[in-house]
Amino acid sequence: MNSVGQVIKVGIADLNIVRPPNVIRTSGLGSCVGVVIYDERMAIAGMVHVMLPDSSLAKSGHMNKAKYADTGITELVAQLKAEGAQSYRLKAKIAGGAQMFQFNLQNSSFKIGPRNVEAVKQMLQVYHIPVIAEDVGGSSGRTIEFDPRTCELYVRTVNKGNCRI
């Protein structure tokens, strides 16, 4: 997509920061939500690949902040500010949170997609970060790539085509 810059990869339950000419990507979002928070003026963006809605779900002492919506967004905002982003200028684009399977809907852990989306939105509200665009829910897996120069989020799916939001 960009011949000069590099693609910064964000793994599952992972986060990272990007500046032009690089772009940032995470692959294979199912129930997980990819959250991009950016400061357009500073041309800086961060992405977190959220797996679970809330860090209170953790059963052990070990904490990977990037795994949860609450701690992941808090950490990403802190890192962006440390890099010079202004909190009042921060905006967000989100994608993911699909419900790909119907099995055991009574088991709440399998409504995880919608729960992740809700938790992400709540947390963004806490930081007064507006959601400028979203491609969430449905039943398709997604790969997303964000370019901090254009502030466009490219969403690729297998079954529903590709789009820029």
């Binding site: 599952i12 992972d14 797996m51 679970l52 052990s60 790909m100 055991n104 088991n107 897996g141």
Partner: protein
Amino acid sequence: MNYIEKMNTTHLDILKEFGNIGAGHAATALSTLLNKQIDMKVPSARIVSFNEMMEMAGGAEEEVVSVSLRIEGEVTGNMFFVLSLQQAEHFISNMTGDKSFSFRKAEGKSLGLSAMQELGNILSGSYLSALGDFTRLQIYPSVPELAIDMFGAIISYGLVESSRYGDYAIVIETVLKEVEAGCSDEMKGHFFLLPDPLSFGPIFEALGVGINE
């Protein structure tokens, strides 16, 4: 202490045997169904990071055909039977006799998809009932669901329970291959069994080994 830290090689060997028995029965079922010789590779039972898991079977973005189900009962977890598109098309052609079957064509697609679904039902059913007989544990599979999507998006559903305990999962993987297909890497099916963290205790107990041994 985390359940993963308690795992030793004996535990992993037992899980390997678990995979061996299940996939052995599934291979026999597949062989009967297709009337072809099916080869099964030695299963592996591994502790993998989530990112390693996402990169199996061709990578997180790789489009695959999967029959997935949730296991409930005395053992809980998720199971995935994952095929490349080519392999799935090949199996479907074999079952329906439609030699030109392709996921890209609308013609004959619904029949092909239900044949694939049925294949998944039979294989996962024989895998899990063999495990149930072996361990005498109650294992109730959900209705398997067919999905054609990115591997990472599908398999991440199997990581949700483990993710509450850490950034690792234990996966029992078995590869089935048609003997005639030769050495082509495309032509194989993967079984991924991902028991939930709390299920390892009951599994080892049923087989007479404590988790703390």
